[in-house]
Symmetry: D3
C-alpha cells in the first residue's frame, strides 16, 4: 500500500473523530474492505463531512429515472473534464461495478463522445458537461433535447444536480491534492463469470 500523503491538510486518526463520523467510516470500511480517502480527508472538518455525504447520498442513492451506473457516468465524464484524479479513479471503479462493464469508465473519462453509450446516455452526458463547463449558457434548447430522449423533469434535475455537486467535489479534491486509494485502480476491471 502506498504511503504517499492523501491530503495536503491534516487527517485525523479514527479515535479522534466524532462518533457519528467514525461509525460511518467503519461501516464503509466493512462494506468496501478499505476506507476511501475522501472520507478521511473530509473528516478534518466534521460539519463539512456530514453535509458533503448527505448531499452525495441525496443525489446518488435516491430513486431516480437514472440508473446508478448512469449517475456514475455523469461523475466520471465531468471529473475527467475537470482533471480530478481522485474522482476519475474512485468513481471510475464504481462505474465499472455498477455498469458491469470493464471498459466504460476509461472511455467516458477520456472522451464520452466515443464511449459505448446509448444515444439517450449521450444526451444525458452532453447536458451534464454543459452544466459542468458552461452552466451560464444552459437554455430552453438543452431542456428540449433531453425531453426528446424521454427524460422527465426530475431526471433533468438529477443530471444537472449531480454535475453541479461534482463541480464542488472536483475542486475540493484538486485543492487538497486528494490521493485515490490504490485499491480503486483495479476494481471492476475483471469481468465476473
Amino acid at each position: 500500500m502506498s504511503e504517499k500523503p492523501i491530503s495536503r491538510f491534516p487527517v485525523p486518526a479514527l479515535p479522534d473523530m466524532p462518533e457519528d463520523i467514525r461509525a460511518l467510516i467503519l461501516s464503509v470500511q466493512e462494506k468496501a474492505g478499505f476506507v476511501p480517502n475522501v472520507f478521511l480527508a473530509l473528516a478534518h472538518r466534521p460539519d463539512e463531512f456530514r453535509a458533503f455525504f448527505a448531499y452525495h447520498d441525496a443525489l446518488m442513492e435516491r430513486d431516480s429515472g437514472l440508473t446508478k451506473a448512469e449517475r456514475e457516468m455523469i461523475v466520471v465524464a465531468t471529473s475527467g473534464a475537470n482533471q480530478c484524479q481522485y474522482c476519475v479513479v474512485a468513481h471510475g471503479a464504481i462505474l465499472r461495478i455498477r455498469a458491469r462493464d470493464t471498459l466504460i469508465a476509461d472511455q467516458v473519462a477520456t472522451n464520452y463522445r466515443k464511449a459505448d453509450v446509448t444515444p439517450r446516455q449521450r444526451a444525458m452526458l452532453d447536458f451534464a458537461m454543459k452544466v459542468s463547463q458552461s452552466a451560464h449558457s444552459v437554455d430552453d434548447a438543452d431542456f428540449a433535447a433531453l425531453s426528446a430522449h424521454g427524460f422527465s423533469q426530475e431526471d433533468v434535475w438529477d443530471i444537472g444536480a449531480i454535475s453541479a455537486f461534482f463541480a464542488l467535489s472536483n475542486r475540493f479534491a484538486n485543492m487538497v491534492s486528494l490521493r485515490p486509494n490504490d485499491e480503486f485502480y483495479l476494481m471492476g476491471r475483471v469481468a465476473r463469470g
Copy 2:
C-alpha cells in the same frame, strides 16, 4: 413585486413542505423580511435542501480567520466569473451589509483586481478564483503565496472550500434559472448614518 417564475422546476407551497424546512424558511423570512428564492427552489428536493444549507452554514457561519465580509467577497467574485445572476445579486447584497461598504459588491463582481481590497484580500481572491476556474492547476506556489500573506492552513481550506461550494451553487442556480428576489438589488446600497 415581480411575478416572473423563480425556477424552471416546481416550487412547493409552504404548507406542503416538510416541517423542518418550513420552520427554517419561516425563521429566515422573519429575520430578512422576505424568503430568498434559493430556499423555495431547493425545497422541491428536501434532502438536497438540508444538505445544501448545512454545507453553506458550515462554511459561512463557522469561526474562521476570514471575516464574514471576506467570505462573501469570495462568493461574489467567483459567482461573477461563473455568470451566476442569483449569487451575484443575493450575495452582493450580503457583502455590502457585512462589509458596511456600498461599493464593494459591484466592484468585486465585475473585476476583483480593480476592487477596493487589501493586498491580503487580493491574494485570497486570486486563490479563490484559481480554485473556481482551474483547480486542476493549484499547486505549492499558490499555498506559499497565501502563507506569505499570513493565511493559516485552515484559512486556506476555508477559501478553497467556499469557492468549491459556490461552484456547485452557481451551476445549480444557472441550471434552474433561479431568479434573484427584487429585494436584494437595493439592500445595503445606502450607507447608514
Copy 3:
C-alpha cells in the same frame, strides 16, 4: 467621497484643459451633478478625448431603430463580459435610468441570458456579444437571425458598432484602471412614484 486615484495616468486640472474640453466637462457636470471620471482621465489626451466622445455620441445619440435603453444594454452586457468595472457601473446607472428599470442593469451585466429582456432584445445581445468576443466568426446566419427579429440593416450596424466601440472603451478603462465615480452606484436604483 472617495479619494482613490481615478486613473494610473496624470489627470489635468480643469483650468489646464483646452477651452472646448473644459466647456464640455462643465456642461456635463451641470447636467449630471458630477463629472464622470472618463472625461477627466481622457482629458490627458485632448485629441483622443475629442474623438472618443464624438464617436460615442455618433452611436449613442443618433436616431436609431434601437432605443437608448437598448443601446445601453449592449454596453452593459459586453462590458460585463470584458470585466470592465467603470463601464459596467457607469453605464449600468444610465441603463437603469433610460429603461426606468431598477433591476435590468445588474441582470444584464452578470448574465444577459437570464435578464428580463424580450426575445428581440435577446437576439440583439447575442449578436453584440458575438461581435465583442469572436467577431472573426460573424457570418450570414447571424445577420439572418437579426433580420428574423425585425432588425433593419441599419439597426444591425448600430448593434455591431456599439459593441465594437465599447471593445475599445473597456480596454482603455482597464488599462488606465479607470475608477467609477461613487455617484453611479446608486443612480436609478429607486423607482420614482
Copy 4:
C-alpha cells in the same frame, strides 16, 4: 481589380458623400494611388467616419516615443490575433513601408514572438497583446516590465491606446466583412535599391 463587394453594408458613391469626407478621400487617393476600402465602408456613416479617422490620426500620427513602424507592429500583431483580414493586409503593407522591411509584417501577423524585433519591441508587443486579449488582468507588473525597457508613461498609453483602438477597428471590419484592396498585398514587398 477585384469586383467582390467591399462591405456587407451600402457604400456611397463619391458624389453622394459630405464635402469634407469626399475631400479627405480624394486626398488619400492622390497620395496612395487608390482609396483604401475602410474609407468607403465607413463613409456610409459620416459621423462615425469622422470620429474614426480623428481617433486613428490622434494615435498614429502624433509625436510619440514609439516610431511609426512600431505603432504599425502593434496594429498588425493584435489584428492577427483578432483574425482581422483587412487590418492585417492593409496595415501589414504600411508596416513594411514604414519599417523598410519586407519580412516583418508577415512575421508579426503570424507569431510576433518569432519576429525580427528587438527585446524592447517584444515587450511592447507583449503589453499590446495583453490589452487586446485580456485587458481586465493588466496590472502593476505589466507597467514595471515596460518601464524596465525604457518606455515612458506616455509611451505606455500609446501602446495600450493603439491596441484598444484596433480592438474596435478589427471588430468593425469583421462585422462588415471589409475587403482589403488588392493593392495592399504587394506593397512594400520589394526592397528599394
Copy 5:
C-alpha cells in the same frame, strides 16, 4: 471480444494488404498476442501507414536520455489533454508495463500534476504539454527550465518531438473514431511477483 467498428473508414483484410504491411502486422500480433487497431485502421493507406510507424519508431525506439517509460508518460499526458481515447488506453497500457507501475497511467492521463513522478519528470511533462497545447508560446524560459533539470538539448528535442507526433496521432484517432482494443484496458494492471 467487441464487435464494434474500429474505424469510420474501411479496414482492409490481412490478405489484401501489401506484403510489408502484412508482415509487420503479423510480427506485432506475434509479440503482443493481438493486433492493435491503429495498425488495421492505417493499413487503409499504406504509404501513410509506413510513414506513421517509421516516425513513431524513430522517436519511441531510439537511444535517448529519456527512458521508454518517460516517453510513454509524454504520450499519455498529452493524449489525455487532447481527449484521445485510443491513445490514452493503448499507451496507458504500455506505460504501465514500461514503468512497472500499475497506477501511473491513470494518474498521468487525468492530471499529471498530481501523478507520482519526479520533479524532473514533472518538468518534462510541463514542456510536453506546452508544445501540445500552445507551442506558439514556447520560448527561452522553457528551455532553461529543462536544462536546470539536467535535460540535454537532444532530450528536449525528444520531448517536443514526441508531443508533436502525438498531436498528429490524437487528431487522426479522433477523426477516424479509432477504437481501443479491449485487451489494452487490463494490461499491466496486476503487478508481477
Copy 6:
C-alpha cells in the same frame, strides 16, 4: 540574405548528412533555387527527416479529390490558427503558386471565413479547422456536412489527415523556432502575364 539562426538546434552541413538526405536536399535546391529551412533543421535527425517527408508526400502528392491548391489551403488555414510562422510563410508561397492567385494565402492565413473560396472549400476548411483545434468533438454531423458538398470518404480522410499532419509540423516548427527562408515571402505574389 538573412543570417539569423534557422533553428534552436544544431543544423548539419551538407557533407555531413547521410547520402540519401543530401541527395534529396540537392534535388529540392535544384528545383526551387534554394533549400527550404525545414529540410536543414530536420536533417539533424535523419530518421525523423525521412519519416516526415515520406508522410508529407504521401498526403500532399497523392492522387486525391482535392486539388494541390486546396491541400495547401488546409495547411495555411490551420497553420495560421496555430501561429506557425514557418508554415504560413512557406506554404503560403506554395498556395499562391498552386492556386495561381496572389491574394489567397494572406486571406486564408488570417481568416479563412473571409477568403475568396467556394462554399465547398469553405466546408473543407471548417472540417480541417475542427480536426486541428478540437478533434475530440468531431462527429457524424461533420461527415454529413462534407458529404453534402460532394466530398467522398477518401477526400474526408485527406482533409483530416493533412490537418493532423500539420498539427505535428506546426508544433515542431514552433518548438525549434524554425525560420522561414527569405525567398518565400515574395514567391507567387506577382501574377504572370
